[in-house]
């Protein structure tokens, strides 16, 4: 009952894809059909989740034996444990809202059915990823979400920027995939299995290499420092794509992978501190980048990246369950923030610059409300959704024996979260309107209102429900000094007030010369400037000049074919030229004849 209902809700998702075989998808109801299917799948998946919360029974089901090679058996198997059971309904709920939002956002797109099919395919691959019980199946989902993100980022394929961003996403993800493949190879080599439970049961020693591989994979997929630039670039895609892929589902896949592998990770201190530092750098760096951006979607993208860094920090302090809680709560408000920004962008005729907004609280009261609540939830204001995970994470980090530097970075990033959230609110919503006066603003579409409303309720209550209903897995720190309890709140309030004061103070000031700090933040720490110029240039000129021209067209051509033909040509010219020296020719003929005669006669 438990597992079959879960499978039913997963299988349900494939029905609209299947139906495209029979011409039904061509009519205009296909998007609605997809949306309804997802809502049914969500409701169906609630039943097994409830049963799971009630009984705490984890299951692994193996369905279809795919193949056996030597000692490795590969089958289609699903792991219905704590993580997948909680994440599936959350992801379905968020996707349901986003699909409804897309009905409004993409209504004028001629290929809206294809868009929905892509979104649905993405959702299916994501479900494969979270429920997979063996590494190969996980890899199918892992690559699947990557490719679907390529297709969805490049949705407006006529635009060069969209294509570049799509390619960039694939490139960074592929670098991460090297790590994944290495981990797969290592596990195959050392544990002779790809099944998760068998790997954990064998508990191999010296796990530095595979865990480094998995960390690299997570770095690529979850846009951690070093492989982060694709996430802000991915904002070239349509806003529903950003809301679904680049905030709530795909980008958390890396964190999810590390959570899946925590049984190995919790014994490896080296990898843990590496993870901690990586997360801390990411969360601070991307928060700094977010501070000075003017594109509303970019700010939210950087804030996503920063929150992903926070999740990685949580894994670094060995609290995978908290990281998972943050994934779930983050999905609600971050998807909603993207949808609110989509609503604003759509209403202002595709204007994304927050400097050209302002005063929207009059024109778009509902979007304003949602955006503010989302931002507050993001900063972890008490009793909104974000509070239940974020506050817990920072408290745990505060009270654990951990790297003080990483902790400090995280705290600063937390404070900056409040600062850039203030900036969005201040510039986009408050003050005087700065957009064109003839813009027709209308947010009274039921698709828009309902979808945001659903996530709005989620952003207020979901954290409470989730954290109250799941059984405690690790005992949280119950006692701590008051100042530690209040640290998270204090830094957040500090961020809010500072940002507000600074914004008010500098509102009418003109920036004469950009300071170097401003440049650093605005140009994303010079990272894209350097990394997207030098290595590709070096690489491409290497392939052109050395691989293609020098080696292929010159050396390899000259060494074998050309030199041989040259040699033949030279010798044949040398030999075959008639010079009329008939005596010499006869002489050589005579010598040959005599020699052969001698040889034949004297042969024994």
């Amino acid at each position: 009952m438990f597992s079959s209902l879960m499978l039913v809700s997963l299988l349900m998702l494939t029905l609209p894809i299947m139906s495209s075989i029979f011409n039904t998808y061509k009519n205009s109801t296909f998007p609605h059909h997809v949306k309804n299917t997802i809502s049914y799948a969500f409701i169906t998946s609630l039943i097994p989740t409830m049963m799971f919360i009630h009984s705490g029974q984890e299951t692994i089901i193996s369905n279809w034996h795919w193949m056996t090679m030597q000692t490795l058996k590969l089958s289609l198997s699903f792991k219905l444990d704590y993580f997948s059971m909680i994440f599936v309904p959350v992801a379905l709920f968020v996707t349901w809202s986003i699909m409804e939002f897309s009905l409004w956002y993409m209504h004028s797109d001629p290929y809206i059915t294809r868009f929905f099919k892509y979104l649905l395919t993405f959702l299916i691959t994501m479900m494969i990823l979270v429920t997979a019980n063996n590494l190969f199946q996980l890899f199918i989902g892992w690559e699947g979400v990557g490719i679907m993100s390529f297709l969805l980022i490049g949705w407006w394929y006529g635009r060069t920027d969209a294509n570049t961003a799509a390619l960039q996403a694939i490139l960074y993800n592929r670098i991460g995939d090297i790590g994944f493949i290495m981990a797969m190879a290592w596990f195959l080599f050392n544990t002779n299995t790809w099944d998760l439970q068998q790997i954990f049961m064998l508990d191999p020693n010296l796990t530095n290499l595979p865990l480094l591989g998995l960390l690299l994979a997570a770095t690529g997929k979850s846009a951690q420092f070093g492989l982060h630039p694709w996430l802000p670039s991915a904002m070239e895609g349509p806003t529903p794509v950003s809301a679904l892929l680049h905030s709530s589902t795909m980008v958390v896949a890396g964190v999810f992978l590390l959570i899946r592998f925590h049984p190995l990770m919790e014994n490896n201190k080296t990898i843990q501190s590496l993870t901690l530092c990586l997360g801390a750098i990411t969360t601070l760096f991307t928060a700094i980048c977010a501070l000075t951006q003017n594109d509303i979607k970019k700010i939210i993208a950087f804030s996503t990246s920063s929150q992903l860094g926070l999740m990685i920090v949580t894994i670094g302090i060995n609290q995978p369950y908290l990281a998972f809680l943050h994934i779930c709560t983050h999905a609600f408000f971050k998807a909603m923030l993207f949808m609110c920004s989509g609503s604003i962008i759509h209403s202002l005729n595709d204007e994304q610059d927050i400097r050209k907004m302002g005063g929207l609280f009059n024109a778009m009261p509902f979007t304003t409300t949602s955006l503010i609540i989302g931002s507050l939830a993001l900063t972890g204001i008490p009793f909104l959704t974000g509070f239940y995970s974020k506050d817990l994470i920072i408290e745990t980090a505060n009270t654990s024996y951990t790297n003080a530097w990483a902790l400090l970075m995280t705290l600063i990033a937390t404070s900056l979260t409040a600062a850039y959230s203030t900036r969005i609110i201040f510039f986009a919503l408050l003050g005087q309107p700065r957009f064109l006066p003839l813009t027709s603003i209308n947010e009274n579409n039921p698709f828009l209102i309902n979808s945001i409303k659903r996530l709005l309720i989620g952003s207020i209550f979901a954290g409470f429900f989730i954290s109250n209903n799941i059984y405690p897995t690790t005992v949280p720190e119950m006692t701590m000094p008051t100042y530690m309890k209040l640290t998270a709140l204090a830094v957040t309030i500090l961020g809010f007030t500072l940002a507000l004061e600074l914004s008010l103070m500098t509102h009418n000031l003109k920036l004469e010369h950009s300071t170097s700090v401003f440049k650093f933040s605005n140009l994303l720490g010079y990272y894209p400037t350097i990394m997207h110029r030098l290595p590709p240039l070096a690489n491409l000129s290497m392939s052109q000049k050395s691989a293609s021209l020098l080696l292929d067209s010159i050396w390899l051509e000259n060494i074998l074919p050309k030199s041989i033909s040259q040699f033949q040509m030279k010798t044949s010219i040398l030999i075959s030229t008639q010079k009329g020296q008939i005596k010499l020719y006869f002489l050589s003929f005579l010598i040959t004849l005599t020699l052969s005669m001698l040889l034949f006669n004297l042969h024994e």
């Binding site: 030597q70 799509a166 995939d177 090297i178 493949i181 190879a185 195959l188 392939s543 052109q544 292929d552």
Partner: protein, 459 residues
């Protein structure tokens, strides 16, 4: 086996006796029927071979390649129709005859029991291919390409003849079925090193090994579509097949002789992939991508573990279908824009959306998206090379990344972006072309359901 070979030979009279409007449909249908007959060979009940006669046999290693060969003839015929539409009837018939002849030779090569008949047929395949390239290629460079093609492969394979004669003297038999029971190690001597080189170089040139690959991009670029298809899909696999067969008797030598070739392949894999990043010529890009994929096969064969053999076989089949499909797609672009330059075909997605879907699928299989059989092949090769030496993962990983990059670069340049004005009035895609792509794609997708049939010996 004769029930496949004789019908294939009979395709030639069929071609010549067919009426003018029936030559394509007749030959395509009958060759498709032949390929359906050959499908039964995929059912290999045991891990031993199916012996049909003294001359022919098939086992799990050769059966997938054989089926791929028979499968490809109807596809080549379908792909060539437009290209030959302006030719006189006799030449069309001659062209089909050449393809059929090549097919016959290939079938016999893959099923030959004796190494020497394998060798003769291996060489015989050169003749029709050469005629196809030099006679029906599009530009004058085709003659040069034909020269390169012929001389590289001939030079590589002549020492093999000598080596085979010497092996015949040594063992008294060149039978594949007997050789695998001949487990006597070759003595460690200079002459045996040369024996190893002579045996392997023929196939390495055919694969092609990096450094000896120059003939391949030239031949691929200049050949007509059917030539490119059969080159990429099957002729390169002859090399892999031969290596897999012959390494069994080169036993202790391979363990140390393999190093330079492994290094060259690993290095060449990166180099050729990087070349792909800078190609403007679509067919040349696909040709270099073939070199890079075949380097993986060479690595896998030289590592000599069961996993790597499985990976090599799977990768050969997967690459055969994928690269052939890419060549067909490139050809369909060429027939519309009359240029192989990628940038001239940009934005085609707007005009030919279904073709764009085929492009997408082909690019995705080329970059080995799971769970396609390309991934299974590549993954097995990566696994076995990782267990051979951990640091190869860096090169393999770099290659995986670059492969993804150039595949998608190809996709983006030809399909995405704004379309140019000179392609405003192009023909829509024909049902024939869509059927052609579907016939490439369906086996790829279906095989991922049960990859075991193309894994060769699963031990």
């Amino acid at each position: 086996m004769l029930k496949i070979i004789i019908p294939t030979i009979m395709l030639m009279p069929l071609t010549w006796l067919s009426k003018k409007n029936m030559i394509w449909i007749n030959t395509t249908t009958y060759s498709l029927l032949i390929s359906l007959i050959s499908l039964s060979l995929l059912n290999q009940p045991s891990n031993n071979s199916l012996n049909f006669s003294l001359m022919f046999f098939s086992d799990p290693l050769s059966a997938p390649l054989l089926v791929l060969t028979t499968w490809l003839l109807p596809l080549m015929l379908m792909a060539s129709q437009h290209h030959l539409s302006k030719e006189p009837l006799t030449r069309k018939k001659l062209y089909i005859t050449m393809l059929t002849m090549l097919q016959t030779f290939l079938i016999m090569t893959f099923t030959a029991t004796e190494l020497i008949s394998f060798y003769i047929l291996f060489e015989a395949t050169l003749v029709p291919t050469l005629i196809i390239i030099t006679r029906w290629g599009n530009q004058t460079e085709r003659l040069n390409a034909g020269l390169y093609f012929l001389f590289y492969t001939l030079m590589g394979s002549l020492p093999l003849l000598v080596a085979l004669i010497s092996i015949q003297n040594l063992t008294g038999s060149l039978n594949f079925l007997l050789i695998q029971y001949w487990n006597q190690a070759l003595p460690d001597s200079w002459s045996n090193i040369f024996l190893w080189l002579a045996c392997m170089m023929a196939f390495m040139v055919k694969m092609p090994l990096y450094g000896l690959h120059l003939w391949l991009p030239k031949a691929h670029v200049e050949a007509p579509i059917a030539g490119s298809m059969v080159l990429a899909a099957i002729l390169l696999k002859l090399g892999g097949y031969g290596m897999l067969r012959i390494t069994t008797m080169l036993n202790p030598q391979t363990s140390f002789m393999a190093y330079p070739f492994l290094m060259l392949s690993l290095w060449g894999m990166i180099m050729t992939s990087s070349i792909c990043l800078r190609q403007t010529d679509l067919k040349s890009l696909i040709a270099y991508s073939s070199v890079s994929h075949m380097a993986l096969v060479i690595v896998a064969v030289l590592i000599q573990t069961p996993w790597s053999y499985m990976g090599a076989t799977a990768l050969m089949i997967a690459h055969g279908l994928t690269s052939s499909m890419l060549f067909c797609l490139a050809n369909s672009n060429y027939e519309r824009t009359h240029s192989r330059t990628m940038i001239l075909a940009r934005g085609l997605q707007t005009l030919l959306p279904l073709m764009a879907a085929w492009w997408l699928l082909a690019s995705l299989t080329n970059l080995a998206l799971p769970p396609s059989i390309n991934l299974i092949g590549e993954l097995f090769v990566v696994m076995s090379s990782f267990s051979w030496s951990n640091i190869t993962i860096i090169l393999m990983g770099a290659n995986i990344t670059i492969t993804a990059l150039y595949s998608l670069y190809m996709l983006i340049t030809t399909q995405r972006g704004k379309y140019t004005h000179h392609i405003n009035s192009i023909k829509p895609s024909f049902t024939r072309e869509n059927a052609l792509m579907a016939l490439h794609m369906t086996p790829l997708l279906l095989l991922s359901l049960n990859p075991k049939i193309i894994l060769g010996f699963t031990y």
